[in-house]
Structures are given as C-alpha cells and as structure tokens.
Symmetry: D2
Amino acid sequence: MIERVETVNLGIIGTGRIGRLHARNLKYQISGAKVLGVSDILEKSAHEVASQLEIPVVEKDYRALLENEEIDAVVICSSTDTHAQIISEAAQSGKHIFCEKPIALELDKIYQALAAVEKAGVKLQVGFNRRFDPSFKKAKDLVRKGTIGTPHLVRITSRDPEPPPIGYVKVSGGIFLDMTIHDFDMARYLLDQEVVELMAVGSCLVDPTIGEAGDIDTAIVTLKYEEGAWGTIDNSRKAVYGYDQRIEVFGSEGCVMVGNPRQTEVTVKGAEDIKTDKPLFFFVERYKEAYLAEMEEFINCILENRKPSVGGRDGKIAVEMGYAAKESLSKGSFVKLQIN
Amino acid sequence: MIERVETVNLGIIGTGRIGRLHARNLKYQISGAKVLGVSDILEKSAHEVASQLEIPVVEKDYRALLENEEIDAVVICSSTDTHAQIISEAAQSGKHIFCEKPIALELDKIYQALAAVEKAGVKLQVGFNRRFDPSFKKAKDLVRKGTIGTPHLVRITSRDPEPPPIGYVKVSGGIFLDMTIHDFDMARYLLDQEVVELMAVGSCLVDPTIGEAGDIDTAIVTLKYEEGAWGTIDNSRKAVYGYDQRIEVFGSEGCVMVGNPRQTEVTVKGAEDIKTDKPLFFFVERYKEAYLAEMEEFINCILENRKPSVGGRDGKIAVEMGYAAKESLSKGSFVKLQIN
Amino acid sequence: MIERVETVNLGIIGTGRIGRLHARNLKYQISGAKVLGVSDILEKSAHEVASQLEIPVVEKDYRALLENEEIDAVVICSSTDTHAQIISEAAQSGKHIFCEKPIALELDKIYQALAAVEKAGVKLQVGFNRRFDPSFKKAKDLVRKGTIGTPHLVRITSRDPEPPPIGYVKVSGGIFLDMTIHDFDMARYLLDQEVVELMAVGSCLVDPTIGEAGDIDTAIVTLKYEEGAWGTIDNSRKAVYGYDQRIEVFGSEGCVMVGNPRQTEVTVKGAEDIKTDKPLFFFVERYKEAYLAEMEEFINCILENRKPSVGGRDGKIAVEMGYAAKESLSKGSFVKLQIN
Amino acid sequence: MIERVETVNLGIIGTGRIGRLHARNLKYQISGAKVLGVSDILEKSAHEVASQLEIPVVEKDYRALLENEEIDAVVICSSTDTHAQIISEAAQSGKHIFCEKPIALELDKIYQALAAVEKAGVKLQVGFNRRFDPSFKKAKDLVRKGTIGTPHLVRITSRDPEPPPIGYVKVSGGIFLDMTIHDFDMARYLLDQEVVELMAVGSCLVDPTIGEAGDIDTAIVTLKYEEGAWGTIDNSRKAVYGYDQRIEVFGSEGCVMVGNPRQTEVTVKGAEDIKTDKPLFFFVERYKEAYLAEMEEFINCILENRKPSVGGRDGKIAVEMGYAAKESLSKGSFVKLQIN
C-alpha cells in the first residue's frame, strides 16, 4: 500500500450492515482515510461501531457530522428515503459525498440532490460497487481496448440466493429499482454507451407474497444501445445454488465472459458425478474486494482532486432505467429513454 | 449394436451435404436400415453417392423412388422449396418420411403436407437434430424429472461461426425461419411446453450485405411459456470463436446448463494466460452424434411402429414461431401464438 | 474423406472385441482399405463378423489368410501369446502388419519377430492407440514446437474404471506389461526422448485377489529422461468415477495439460453443489477416434510407402520398460534401461 | 466476527514481509488479539511498522519483548537461524509461541527447542499456513469423512513462479528444507498419516547458478504412507504461469482435487483460442486467507486453552523428511523415516 501524506477525514451516516462494512474498510485497509465520526438514528448502533473501531465522534443526528468542520467527506449508508436530503445538505456543508444506491426512488428528489452537488462543486460517488469487481473491471477494460471488436450482444445474469424480507420488498421500489438497478448500471458500464430503449417482462414465480406486495421476482429486460448493440438481463430473486452474477459481451472479434467465483477450488469425483462448490453466497462475499476498491477510488478522487468514475449522473440514469422498465412492464412494449 | 431381423428400405432424395451425411450414417452405422436408392436433380451427384456407398438404385426424379415398391421410407434432403410437395406425394405413395427442416417457408404448404401425412397414416419425422444431442437430451430429461423444480427462465445462445453465402440468405426465409427455427424448437423441447407469446428484436450488425438482402444477422427473442416461465434466445450469424450453442434452464430448485464441447481437451498454461481450445467448428462436427441418433430414432419408429418423438406438428409450430418473430420485429411488440 | 485409387486388402486375425472394432472401422470409415478376410480359432465368431460386415473370406487358421495372395496386410488381434509367432510368419509371407500391443511378453520372442520384419522389409505398426488421440497428439505437437520450452517434468495419470477379470490378470504379465505399457509409450511419445532410468513402487490396494495372483493394482513409476527431464506415472486398476487418463508436460516456458473428456457437457447447479458428468467410461469410448486414426495411419503408410510412426522398436521398448519396472519394484531401487 | 472479552497481547519478532503481514492481520482482522510490541535487529524497520500500526512498544532486541510481562505470546518471523534459540528463550519466559517454518535447519536445535516448549508447557504453533487454505482444508475434511474411501494415491504439485535470490538459496538449506517442506507437511496433513519411507530425485534444470550453489530446482519425491498409500510430490522453482499449487487424493471411493484459484473469473473467446487468467501470483496472494486463519487459530488456542492443530512435532517431522529427501537424493534409493 502506498502511504500518503494527506488524510481524508470521514463521517459515516448510518451504521447498519453496509455502513459497518465501509467503516471497517476505511479504518483498516485504506490509507489516506480516517473515520472521525459516525451517526445513526439508532444511537446504540452508532456507539457500538464507534467503540469497536475507536471512532472518536458519535452522533444521533447526521447534521452534527455535517457541521463538524474537521470532517471532509461523508459516506451515506442510511435508509434510501433519506439519501437525497442528506446529499443536498452535505453538499451545502461542502462535504464530499459517497452515497449508497439508489440516490432516491423519486426522480425529482434525485434532480434536486444533483443540482445541490453541482452548485456546491463537491464530489459525489454512487455505490455501484460491481464496477469495482476485478473480474467485471477486467472485462470492461478488454471491451474498451477492442479485444472483442465492436460489441453486438450483452448478456447479464443476476440472481440472488434468496428474496429479501417482505417488509423490505414493500418499500424497495420494486425489483427494477432495487435489484435490476445494479444490472442497468453494469449494462452501461460494460460498453461505455447509453441504453436508448428497453423492454421489460416478468412475473411472480418465486414467492406469491412478493406478488401480493405488487412486485415481481423474475424478470427479463431487453436493451437497445445507442450504437446498435442489443442486451438482455435476466433476474431472479431466488437461485438455490447461490448468488449468480455473470456477464457476457459478444462482439465482432470475440466474446468476453465473467463467471462466478466458487467457495473453494475443490472438486470431488465420485461414482455418480463430479462435484464442485457453489458460488460465493451473496454480495458481501462476492463483492468483498469491490467494496474496498470503490472506497479507495472515493478517497483517491478527493486526495487527487478528480471526479469519481461513477457519479451522480450514473445514479440518476440507473433510476430512470428502473422507471422505464416499470413502464414497459405495464405497457407490454418498448420504452425510449431520454438520456442527458 | 442390437441386430434386428427386419430391415427398412430407404430412398434418399437429395444428395447434397446433408443427404450424404444421412446416407453414410444409414449405410454404415444403423442396423435395420438399407439404402436402396438415391435421387438428385443433379444426376451426377446421385451417381457419385451411389457408387461410393454401393447403393443399387439411382434416379434423377424422386418420383421414381416413390414408385419403387421395395422402398419403405424416404429421407428428404432436397431444397426447402420442394419439401412440402415431396412430403405430400410420399405420403400418398405410403412411404414413411424423414424431412429436413423446415417443412416449408409457407404455412399453407405445411398444412397441406401435414394433412396428406395424416390422411395416409404414414410416419413423419422432422430433422430437428439438436433434440438428439446427448447433452441437450440429458438436460431436457433432468428438467422433466424435476431436478431443477419448476422452470422459471430459459436461456438459449445460438451463434454460427460464419454467415451462409448471401445467395442462400436471400432464399432462406430470413434468420428466424432459417436459424432461430432450431432454437424455437429447442425452447419447446426443453420444457415440454408451448410458447404462447414472443417478442423479437434485432438488426444487421455482422455484414451489411445481409441487411441489403432484407435480413438481419443479430437477434434476441423473448419467449413467454404457457405455464408462466420466460425465455430468451440470442443469435448471431458470426461468432469468430466458432459454433456457440449453449442452453440454460433455471428453476425453483436449481439450474441445468449445457456448454460447448471443445475441439480437444488440451490446456496450455503460458506466461501470459491459460489457453484452451475453441468449440467444435459447426453443426456437422457438433451434432455428429445427434445426426446419427435422429436417424436411429426414425428407423426404430418404423420398425417398432411408434410415432416419431419430433413430428409434423413440431415442424409446423417452429415455422409459426418464425413468422411470429418476423411480425414482432416489424411491429416492435409482443405477438401471441395460436397453438393447436 | 479423400478417395484414393488404390486399395489395401486386409485380413483380420482374431475377431474378439478389438478385432471387431478394427474390422468395422476399416469397413465403414477408412477409404483405401478393403477387409477381404477374417480368421479366428473360434470359427463361429469369425463367421459372425464376416456375415455382419459382408467379408468374403472366413478362416479358422490365420495361415490361410497369410497364404491368400490377394491379401496385402494383416491386423493381428489374437491373444498376446500368439502375436510374435504370427508377426514372423506374416512377415515371411510378405504381408504388412498391424499388431495389437504387446508384441509379446517375452523379450526373446519380440527380438525374433522384429528380426523377421526387418528381413522381410514389411511395415509393422504396433497398436499404441493413445498416440492417435486428438488431445494427446496436439499436446505432443505443442511440446515438439517448443510452446512450453524445454521439458522439465512429465506427469501421467492412468487409472482404469475397473480391474480386468482375475483370469485375465493371471496371464497379463502384470500391471506394468499390461496397463502401464501404454503409459511407458506415452512417456516416450510426449517428449520424443528415451527414458534412461526408472523406479517403480506399488502394492495391492484395490482387490486382494490381484495380490494373490502375484500382481499389484496401484503403482507409481518415476522416470528419468535422456535429456534430464523427470517423469511420473500413477496407475490404479480402479477409479470409481471412470477412466482417468490425464497428462501434463511442464517446461521452462509453460505447461501443457490434457484432461478427460466428459460424457456430456451438462452442468447441474443445485442447492448442495455443482455437478458435472464423469469421464467417458473406458478405452472403447475414450479412444474411439484414436482407434480410427491409428488404422488410417496404417493404411496410409502402406499406400504412401512410408514407415509407420509407431513401430516395432516402440513396441519392444515399452516391454523392456515393463520388465525394468518389475525389476525395480522387487529391488526397491532405480533400474537403468539399455536403449538401442 | 465474534467479539471476545479477553485479549491476547502479542509481540512480533522480526518485521520483514511476513512479520508485517502477521502484524497487520492481528491488528485489523483478528479480535481478541492486541499487538503490544515489535522488535527487529533493523530498528528502523521495527519503528516503521510500529508507527503505521500504532504499536506502542518497539525494541531492537527481542529479549526485551520476552521480558515484557504484559506480553502473552510472540510471533517469530526473524531469520531461520534464530528460530530455535528464540523459541527456547520465549518458552522459558512463559510466552506462547507462533513460529514461522522451519523451526531450524539443524535437527539438534529443533529437539532442544521442542524440549524447552514441552518443559515450559506453553503453546507452540508452526507456520504451515497451507493447512489453513479453505480449499486444502475442505479437501482434508472430505478425506477424513471418508468421502473418497480409503486413500490409495496422493499427488501434490508445488511450483513457484520464480526462484528466490541466489543469496537466499545458499542459506535456505536446499529445496527440500525450504520449499518441499510445505509439501511434506501437506502430505501428512491430507491423510492424517505418517510417511514411513521416501525417495527423492531431481536436478538443476531451471537456473545453473542454483546448481552451482549445490542445490537443485526440480524434484520429484515418492512417499510411502504408514497405511500403505503412495504419494508423489513434484516441485519446480519456476513456473512461468505463476504459483502452481494443486493436490489430489485418490481413494477407493473417489478422488478429491484442489486446483489453483485464478486472478479473475474472466474468459475471452477469440478467433484463435479461449483464454482465462493465470493463477494468483505467489504465496502472499494465494494464501492470504490462510495466513489470517492460522493466526486466528493461534489466538483461539490461547484464549480457549487448547493445543494448536499444527505444533512442534509437525515442524520437526517436516524437517526430518527434508533430511531424508536429501539423503535419498544422494543415495539414489528409498530412505526410511523414524517417526516418533
């Protein structure tokens, strides 16, 4: 690790699972960063994290972190409905911002938050962690280098090992804004191109309570890219064999694919068949390195004064694609996207 | 090989590449079959095959084979535009029929041919050879046995190593009737279910002369099955790495996948990367065993007096799906299929 | 297939499993060859094959085939103890010879047979079929081309799915002359180098009746090559997961490996693990193409008047290595080989 | 991570690459451990580490750490020639001990150190990190559970990406004590059985300067286990494709194998071949999780007052096997091991 002279002082807003993961990474594995404070409306949770990681400042209200002049940047890990408001206030306080996806479930709120960021001139990075997975990143770099020629087809398979609790499903904004949103971002990332039109189909095949909550759990989305390539995403809320995250970009000169890392490299050859291990269970395991790398990118962008590679516009477009998918699903036809 | 007492005497109509392949398989590898005659409008071709394989009867006109009372069954490998007419005549002559796909490019002709078969009570098998590939067959058997639970998603990747000559493209009926037709049949075969609705997109990305001929070379088709599962097919006329034929059926209890057999089992580990061989080049190599197995099935059906597992109705529906895909492509929306 | 003008007329001596396999290949898949006659001391067996394959001449005594002036070449598939004698007589009759391995279990007999072949100037090819496996052949070609630099280590894994009947074990000459003999030849083939010293260890771990018959069923042989590389062979008479035939050549610039082809390309992902198919069951399945290719080589050598790539000297050295392994096993030390 | 009430206070002796790796793991990723002090004869190195990791005590002489009453345990990462002496002194000071392999290059010194540990009743864990690799551990657990029946054959491939500096080679004790020592331990670990006899061959094929230093760089070791199984290890100091660490245990009911994890899960299919990534480069990358897990085991053994699963006797036997291999190499025959 290269040691840097300067240090970014951080406040972490929200100390649930993902907030703790970022806090731990920033504390132990990223040089140039110092976690000065944490806040959580559940004060007990904030105190727990602070005590484990020896973080000096603990607050119930995130505004106290925003007012703390020693803090340079915040990491927003609170519930989705608070993201946009906190982004706006953090920008007004001159803090750089890392925000978990999605920025908001309402497009108006997103536009306002991005305007505030724009006006304040602070940096905003959105938590599309998969862009930082070493395999996906290498695939994208190969596409960019022209290894597979002109892209013609993109295939994204994205299946969770199990559905979230039904209470979460109800406030999630639906599968397209909660789950497919990552795949929408991946689709844009892989080709460095916008999707200009999409068509979504799907239904509730996994768990009827998801259907009763007005959502679906199985979906296929067809994408048209601005330069003529076609893409397809398939989603399921439940793959019994674990987290299935594969991509494929097919072009005029070849095809690049990313498969699932397995839990171990063990193979057992028996009288009946040959057995290997299942994929890593879920996002915490699969994207362990990606979570670290995205936070390193954020800290480096601040230290080197450059724009994060995945910013507010990316966060906004992914949500717009989610809404387009919802519209397509209800209409049964393609929906055009207004990209700007 | 089990030797049988009875023998099916066959006439092969059309001695191009596929006719010769069937003739050779029937001659050398299938017991219970005897190739009595061949016909081809190019008499020289018919004579060549007859001399190589020691086939006694050689005709220019297929009707001479139909009139030959020693012949029990015919294998129709002539050009597509002649299939339906020959089927009708062969049925009227009381011959059992194996016919290469598609039965015809016009639905009316198909209906007439099937009516003739129905009336004559002869057996008709359509050359959907992929159903007889040992890997696809095993995958289908596992689905049928319930190994993966209720199917939710089907993914078919089907890419040719190179486009056919443009002259062929012009009379092929278009990608959906010429190439995707195999995938439509595979989609039905894998789940033993009908597709009730489909949506096709695509464009000409590989070779502009295909576009000038009014066809496309890259396509994605989304399928809705009668019991609620969703499917997707992706096609390209040109995969530089060879014939890419993979399938995946994902269900409530797991996922079954079929990958591409490689040319050899060699792996080379070098200073730059790990290299393995490309897939088998094209259909003759990849489906070598399948071509043999489908013909064994045809002969066995005659000897054992049972209905071929892939018959006229299957041939008809695949063409209907091709027309639905054409309609969907031009309309930009889903098209319902009338299955009966 | 290239059609040739001239034809090699063949007699097949011995119509057991392997004799029938060669007869069928020669009859149906190899142009330029014609099976004129078969012989077997079990006349019924010879008649059976002749009738199935429409072979005109059937004899009880192989000498009748040797005296048949229309026959150009013989394929010796009789029991091992008869090989050397038949080779000598066939050579004296001026017939070209394909002989199954081993030439004999006694070195004296081998030397005499090879002297007879030498004197008569006929061609002799020994049935080391694995040299003609497309994967092993490609591996060897890569080694020869220098793809992996200078070879340092060779690893051969060779395990049968099940031991032969104990009656066969008793007359087999022991594991080194019956089973490892193929690996000895493979070891020489892969590097185009002689083995100058070897050391064998092993014991009876699979089946005590093999031990009671004075043989072992599990072995490791360490090889020293003339140019300094080292090799290791591991054998077992019983791998419950099927025929395990893998090789690896490691050198200064990389490593080439050959794995086992699987029965199908199906993968099943379930809640417990990921399952794939076992290797092809045994030599008839695994080396199907190799059996055909070795016979094509034999016919081509006769038609083109060139020396078979695997000849009498190869057959002799493999047996000498088998005896060296036996000696090493009993001595517990390395044994030098006298190669000439 | 489960938080524990009690804490083990540690001193780290030697702050080279491996000392720093352990220090960082203990500081950031292992609860229940606190790094109180570090020492290094290069004081600057010790200070550097202490300042980065906020370690309060920094010493030049390890004896100062041994005299520090707050320290419960030491992690010995100094040069090999100092291990045995430090173990003895640490034991006398009542400290628990984690020591990098090998304990010493001289058997006398090992015996004395182990006697001191025995007398003091402290815990000693030896740094055979590979036992803690999740894949090898799972393989061993499957063997222990009987999944593959009675073991018959063990194959260990262990090849480094590049030789160490020649200066290191000269003091390393030779390939068997420096490199193969890990494989000797792995061989015992996999079967939970002792090796009773071994035979080593090898030569200098990679780099002549290694030969000039009196060492070899390519080796094969054949092992005989106490219950009759056979094993083989192959080593090379240079695999251009990276760190190659594979194992295979073959038994009466199947075979368990461990392959190399790749750098990414990317596959590129091109016009020439299919490419995947090379293995992780070297031990720091490959055994990252194993280094962490072995240290967790050490801390847990102290906290739970149990004996480390890999202790002094294991360290001793691996060195004894190294000497046996040296003897075998020079004698050209098998050498018996006296296990106690």
